[in-house]
């Protein structure tokens, strides 16, 4: 727990983002992590315990044997003091050496080998803070174009900037705004339009965003409207005042995309999650099952795709406003980059699911 002396605010030790670096080796990988203010580069890998044996009379130097292997994480570098506001985005560049970090108003460009310098690439701070109407909610680099970066905003907009154009990218190259599909003006419309997660697709042609109620898929070539608008848990729409009173309306849910880009998974309340087929079709919602005692509790399996019958553990989820547990929020999920395994975090558990081969 740190204390920011300038603002008299405690900085929690809570890690908000983790990003893996590529490439790695068989025994070592590096990753970036951040809390609200500081980013750290770690090495994670196997560490051998050495054992030395002396053979008296033969040599002064011992022989070394490798024994226990355990996995250790070692901090390599700390990138501190780059942000005046809470960090909300962290993303590695395709050059595998530089990365960006974003907070409410600014985006910094760092090099993994240099903890003392960062370059400001986007600065949204207005000259007069009272004019502030929009903040950054996340940022990501394009998967293979080293010069493109995308950042999402509290107004539901996505901007793409080109680092080649200028040293300071305030003037974005493109902005994606869903004017037709935007929320009708209401007390809550601004709050629920804020983008809680935005990512490039693996192929780099699309950007997928999630705000409180809707998933949108944007084609980078078309700024005027998304190619798909997928209501996520639209049944919450009639409960917005309750959600506002309980502060739930400020929850930031993220999402994850399958490696073949056919499915998107995202969490909702009651510890449930929804699988959305990208090409269209009925989204399937499931309650995170109760752990099976024998398997140590954390693995479930789900059969989906070809057969719509879920396995015994997975309960389909139907929202019931009376019994729904709004304190159990599945805010975070992630999909393995190589296979059909995905993870959903719900209350104090992480649940892993993978596709069964046939049913």
């Amino acid at each position: 727990m740190e204390f920011d002396y300038l603002k008299s605010v405690e900085i929690e030790a809570r890690v908000s983002k983790i990003r893996w670096l590529t490439p790695g080796s068989a025994t070592q990988r590096r990753l970036l992590s951040c809390n609200d203010k500081t980013i750290k580069l770690w090495r994670v890998g196997e560490r051998c315990q050495r054992e030395y044996t002396h053979v008296p009379g033969s040599s002064l130097l011992p022989k070394i044997h490798r024994r226990t292997t355990n996995t250790v994480a070692r901090p390599l570098r700390t990138f501190a003091n780059g942000h005046a506001y809470q960090i909300n985005g962290l993303s590695m560049n395709s050059d595998q050496e530089t990365f960006i970090s974003s907070d409410d108003l600014r985006i910094n460009l760092w090099h993994t080998n240099n903890k003392n310098e960062a370059f400001l690439v986007v600065d949204l701070k207005p000259a007069n803070m009272e004019e502030l109407s929009e903040v950054i909610t996340g940022a990501e680099f394009h998967p293979y174009n080293c010069n493109l970066l995308m950042y999402s905003s509290s107004k539901g907009l996505v901007r793409v900037g080109d680092l080649r154009e200028q040293a300071l990218c305030d003037r974005y190259a493109k902005v994606y705004e869903d004017i037709e599909g935007s929320e009708p003006r209401s007390f809550f419309s601004e709050l629920i339009s804020s983008v809680s997660d935005a990512r490039f697709s693996r192929c780099g042609r699309y950007v997928i965003t999630r705000d409180y109620l809707t998933l949108r898929i944007w084609d980078l070539a078309m700024e005027k409207r998304p190619v798909a608008r997928i209501p996520f848990h639209d049944y919450l729409r009639s409960h917005l005042s309750h959600l506002y009173e309980t502060d739930c309306i400020f929850d930031k849910f993220d999402f994850a995309v399958s490696p073949d880009s056919k499915f998107i998974v995202g969490g909702t309340y009651h510890g449930a999650f929804t699988l959305v087929p990208v090409a269209g079709g009925q989204p399937l919602s499931f309650e995170a099952g109760k752990p099976k005692p024998s398997s140590g509790g954390f693995f479930g399996s789900l059969s989906w795709g070809r057969s719509k019958k879920p396995s015994a553990i997975m309960k389909p989820f139907h929202f019931d406003p009376v019994t729904a547990d709004f304190t159990n929020k599945a805010l975070r999920c992630a999909w393995s980059p190589n296979d059909s395994t995905f993870a959903v975090a719900s209350s104090n558990r992480v649940l892993l699911y993978s596709q069964q081969s046939s049913n």
Partner: protein, 583 residues
């Protein structure tokens, strides 16, 4: 653990070896740094047979330890028995060149290069070629990156028969999947290519270079210019124009400002390597484009190269093509572009000569001298001598004063500090009368600045002025004013006098010291403030080496003897220190 006791001849080494195994990283580091000692004690045979294999097993340690190890191994040739055995060091170094952390790999490559110097030519190929091939084809990106740094060394020393393979391998590295390897290959390209024969450069290296120059990754592309310059230095004029000039064109027109920045930064070198004719016919147009670039960083880099490029052009071209851009840069939005221009533009004066400088450049200098941004003004002042040699000081003098005064009174102390630095230069240019008239008051005001660094710089300034104008001048102009400060109410001003005396005593000569300074010091030894009194001691201590011993005995010691019994303990302490110097 082998039994060893303090009496044993092996004891020191066993202790060191224990440290090598210790969990505490500081102890391991310590031991690694003393590896030479261990090796000497073991002797060359045992070092080769026992120590090196042991070290080979130690390569999974912390980065700091590995860095130190790489460094030690670079100096280990004598410990393993000299040149015939130097190659045994390559085994651990090869492994170190493949580890994850860049700084360790860099040290390992450095060490390999050092060891290579000792390996005789006959055994070089056998020792190095297989290792280089292994590194270049390693599974992970790290050995492949490190390999790039070794080609320039290895290639010239191997047999001609082995060279085609190596060139091909390097080409593969330039096309590697991993951007980091391509980047290492691109940045080492310029060192490697100059070792290759012209014919092969044309047939093999240039195509490789062209793919690098078109790489997707900006960080690879921006290394193209330096490589271009290296290649051009090996080709003849015709080939340079047909093969390299298009690359320069492409870089100047690149979408990424970073690539354009690199060209701008290297533009003088580009002009030099392509030669005057090309510079005049083609390159000047490209340079103008860079001076007008949309990105301020590019304009800033280009602005610093104006003189360098102008040197290759005809005066007429400079006036017709470069000066309009320079004109625009004087009022550029970016203060960094203006500052960069200011530090370079003065160099045009000798080129254009007196009349043209007066007509075309003078107004630009004056405008920059009035810039809002202090660094711009400072940069003009710093290069003043280039201009005054051409058009004399008078025209500038009247404009200089307001600029200097404004800088001298700037709110930011670092700006005030910077202008003080230039005062001796200006004094030399402007001459004694001008100085006495206008600048000397300024120099005295600085002695009383609220910031210590300014007061200190001001005293150093007085010393340098004395060196410029001579002792007599100092005696008549500075010393009286400095000494007058000694009776100021505020003790900080009185302190400044002491520092000034300490500094000036070195340059004013014994008469002034004996007649004016020492009496003052005697008086200040009775100052009511203890800080003053002990600084008198310190000043005397600094002066004693330059004083005649009779003077020391007759005049310094009496003062000090009183201070030895001062009621303040710091005064007594410094008095003691000074007293010791007297004897």
């Amino acid at each position: 653990m082998a039994e060893a006791k303090p009496g044993d001849e092996n004891y020191p080494i066993t202790v060191l070896i224990e440290e090598l195994k210790n969990e505490d990283i500081q102890l391991r580091l310590n031991a690694i740094r003393r590896l030479g000692t261990i090796a000497k004690a073991l002797g060359v045979d045992k070092t080769r047979a026992d120590l090196i294999p042991f070290l080979n097993e130690c390569l999974d340690d912390e980065d700091e330890v590995l860095m130190a190890l790489a460094e030690e191994l670079g100096n280990f040739v004598e410990h393993v028995g000299g040149a015939p055995y130097a190659h045994v060091l390559l085994q651990p170094l090869e492994s170190l060149a493949a580890v994850e952390e860049t700084v360790v790999r860099d040290k390992a490559v450095e060490a390999i290069l050092k060891v290579a110097e000792h390996i005789p030519n006959e055994s070089f190929e056998v020792a190095f070629l297989p290792m280089l091939k292994r590194l270049s084809t390693g599974d992970w990106f790290t050995p492949r990156s490190s390999a790039c740094g070794l080609y320039a060394l290895v290639y010239p020393r191997i047999s001609d028969g082995a060279k085609p393979d190596l060139r091909q391998l390097y080409g593969k590295l330039c096309n590697d999947d991993t951007p980091m390897v391509r980047r290492a290959a691109a940045s080492n390209f310029k060192k490697f290519v100059v070792t290759v024969d012209k014919a092969q450069i044309k047939s093999e290296m240039i195509p490789i270079f062209q793919t690098l120059a078109r790489d997707d990754q900006d960080s690879v592309r921006l290394l193209a210019v330096e490589n271009c310059i290296a290649i051009a230095s090996k080709l003849d004029r015709e080939d340079t124009v047909s093969l390299m000039l298009p690359v320069v064109h492409a870089c100047v027109n690149d979408k990424s400002w970073r690539v354009r920045y690199m060209v701008a930064d290297q533009f003088s070198n580009v002009c030099n390597v392509f030669g005057q004719d090309i510079a005049r016919s083609e390159l000047v147009g490209l340079f103008v484009k860079l001076l007008k670039d949309s990105e301020a960083e590019v304009r800033t880099a280009a602005a610093s190269k104006v003189t360098g490029v102008a040197l290759m052009l005809e005066v007429d071209t400079v006036i017709k093509q470069l000066l309009p851009c320079v004109h625009d840069l004087v009022t550029d939005d970016s203060q960094h572009a203006r500052a960069s221009l200011a530090s370079d533009i003065m160099g045009l004066a000798p080129l254009l000569g007196k009349d043209l400088t007066s007509t075309h450049l003078l107004e630009l200098f004056l405008q920059l001298l009035k810039d809002d941004f202090p660094e711009v003004r400072l940069n003009i002042i710093s290069k003043l001598d280039k201009v005054t040699k051409v058009i004399g000081i008078d025209t500038l003098a009247q404009h200089l004063m307001p600029a200097i005064v404004e800088l001298a009174e700037d709110r930011q102390w670092r700006v005030r500090l910077a202008i003080i630095d230039y005062i001796p230069l200006l004094a030399a240019e402007l001459g004694v009368e001008f100085f006495n008239d206008k600048l000397s008051n300024l120099c005295m005001t600085w002695l009383g600045d609220s910031v210590y660094s300014i007061r200190e710089a001001a005293t150093q300034n007085l010393k340098r002025l004395t060196e410029v104008f001579g002792v007599e001048w100092a005696q008549n102009n500075i010393i009286p004013k400095v000494l007058a400060l000694s009776s100021h109410n505020n003790y900080l001003y009185r302190m400044t006098v002491l520092f000034a005396i300490s500094v000036l005593s070195k340059v004013v000569g014994p008469d002034v010291v004996n007649d004016t300074m020492l009496p003052l010091l005697v008086k200040m030894a009775q100052d009511p403030v203890p800080n003053i009194r002990f600084n008198v001691c310190k000043t005397l201590q600094a002066m004693i080496p330059n004083l005649d011993s009779t003077v020391v005995q007759a005049r310094v010691k009496p003062v000090l003897s009183k201070l030895l019994e001062d009621k303040d303990q710091d005064v007594r302490y410094f008095g003691q220190q000074a007293w010791l110097m007297c004897n």
